[in-house]
Symmetry: C2
Subunit: 338 residues, 2 copies
DNA sequence: CCGCTAGTTTGCAACGTTGCAAGACGCTGC
DNA sequence: GCAGCGTCTTGCAACGTTGCAAACTAGCGG
């Protein structure tokens, strides 16, 4: 049993196939009685336009690609949910791809997604730099989500990672902590975001007249709970353990808290912990996590608006857009007393 | 600048357009030197097949739809990650849609996704029953993920929710708990899954010779942290609070733990808590959550295999497949002592 | 009564690909 | 030398849709 197409509807309604198409796409130019008749036929036969044909004819198919490292990290899952919701409002469907943060895979997917007949791509890179992306950028428009300004012709939407990191560390300093660790550098990747956050961390220390201590800057392979756990263990094993830890993601932070629980180290009394991303589990953790909250809603909204703008006018210069963030103070690093 | 197509490549390689198509699809029937020449041309021009045209011609386009209530719930995010990964291995792209568990939206998307030119749909319903789905089932094959057996012609893949719930409660009973609450019924939805879990809960109590107490069966609007928090608060306010709580999702359970922390109620000493789904945050929570862990990998694997089978042979009878699960015992409801 | 216009409807072609079946080519064997 | 065969290549049509421009209809003024 074939799917009903324009021809079927046209036959049923006793009009030409073209008229049916008009009813679907430009109802206002069709005379009322005809329109009614056609609509009935559409209803009765359950006609749905064939996206493939439409896409073939018009060149666009109403789908965008969302390319993220891993959809199962709460941060990306939350973004994806917003993207899907917002995209739907714009009449787009969302096609998801995972890169696992692998450079080769990022490159491949960035090309592949283009082939997959998407009209645009939202790309959240871990390994590729903005410059690389802009060099590879060809057919459909790309907007980079969460990557920091640089040079290149690609649009980017992100928060001020450096400033946010600095604020987080300043918050810790304000509560009297002086030995503050940073967890989350990724020297093996060219992860611009991590570098920005490290920069903010160092800047805050420096401004407070504190020396940076390589021992306190813990690199990690990935940004998940287990790495947070081992990093924290390593820090607690130092001759002089830190009295605060700034983690570059909430997952690292939650892992760190877990290790503290295992070792009977009290948070925040003995170690204060700050995360980054404000994922949902952080809100309900025990202790609830103090963290940097990007305005995710605005982030996604702007990303889609930018993508839309670029789809309409592909020759625009690359824009760098900054979205607000705020430090959400919770139990793991409470506000200064007094 | 147009995208390069078969014609361009054909011209470049000095062969017919059909031969290029053959090189791409059935390389083995093309003579070696020709093949080489064509491959070079493809490389030089950066040719990528046009999915829309291919889909129009062949009727399938290598995309499947994943329809879930909310992609940002860790449970669904984790499933989605697996689906995308597995699907890729099968040469499919995944298109994501969110229903918010709304019945109208579920129906609409189930029809819409069909129109969206997907070859098959993985559907995780909250509001629609299996029967409803099978009635609406038309064009592309559908596999229901996480929904319990019933009657209908649709394939379903799920764990034994009833049995799993029963095991969870039996575990609590084995540790000497006698006043066990259940959190997660959704009387306002026809959520078959919740009913199965409630059934398992009651069966375990009954088998232990304990009466069910309506006070201890807490309905919730949604299955998230906040509802877990208020449900727990309500339970703690009872004249005789429970000594254990079985939550139908990990998010409810984590919310419940959070409320206990707020009130200074010790988990598991005063109240043991068991969740359901084994989402990642549950593993690193403090206390770590005892929970029912569906074999997600197998779940997704089987779902895709089933979808594939049905796509190959649409007339097959609906199958009900059960995937293994296990109770993961952690701190929030530890193993019986001794 | 006819030409003209505005308002509707229609036919043709094309988007890029692949199924089908026929065509071209070079060899083998008689 | 030619039929016959196997190997490789090609042309045509069609998938369902929409852009374009022409065609039709009715109503109007001249």
């Amino acid at each position: 049993m074939r799917r009903t197409n324009l021809k079927d509807v046209a036959a049923r309604a006793g009009v030409s196939i073209r008229t049916v198409s008009n009813v679907v796409n430009t109802p206002e130019i069709v005379a009322e009685p005809t329109r009614q008749r056609v609509l009935e036929a559409i209803e009765e036969l359950g006609y749905r336009p064939n996206v493939a044909a439409r896409q073939l004819r018009q060149g666009r198919g109403g789908a965008i690609g969302l390319v993220v490292p891993e959809i199962d990290s709460p941060y990306f899952a939350e973004l994806a949910a917003l993207v899907v919701r917002e995209a739907e409002a714009l009449g787009w469907t969302v096609l998801i791809e995972q890169t696992d943060g692998d450079a080769a895979r990022e490159r491949q997917l960035l090309d592949g997604a283009r082939g997959q007949g998407v009209d645009g791509v939202i790309f959240s890179p871990w390994a590729m730099t903005a410059e690389e992306v802009s060099r590879s950028a060809m057919a459909p428009p790309v907007v980079m989500l969460g990557e920091q300004p640089g040079m290149g012709s690609v649009d980017r939407v992100a928060i001020d990672n450096r400033g946010a990191a600095r604020e987080a560390v300043e918050h810790l300093l304000a509560t009297g902590r002086t030995r503050i660790a940073a967890v989350g550098l990724q020297p093996h990747l060219s992860n611009e975001t991590a570098e920005q956050r490290l920069g903010g961390y160092r800047a805050a220390l420096e401004a407070a007249g504190l020396a940076t201590d390589p021992e306190l800057e813990v690199p990690v392979e990935r940004l998940h709970h287990p790495e947070g756990m081992t990093a924290m263990a390593r820090l607690l094993d130092l001759a002089t353990p830190p009295d605060a830890v700034f983690c570059f993601t909430d997952q690292l932070a939650l892992g760190a808290i877990r290790t503290c629980a295992d070792r009977g180290v009290r948070v925040p009394e003995e170690v204060a912990i700050v995360g980054f991303d404000d994922i949902e589990p952080a809100r309900y953790a025990v202790p609830a996590l103090t963290t940097v909250a990007p305005d995710k809603h605005r982030l996604v909204e702007l990303t889609l608006a930018t993508l839309q703008a670029r789809m309409a006018e592909p020759s625009l210069a690359g824009r760098d857009l900054v979205v607000p963030h705020r430090l959400v103070v919770r139990e793991s690093a409470p506000a200064p007393t007094g």
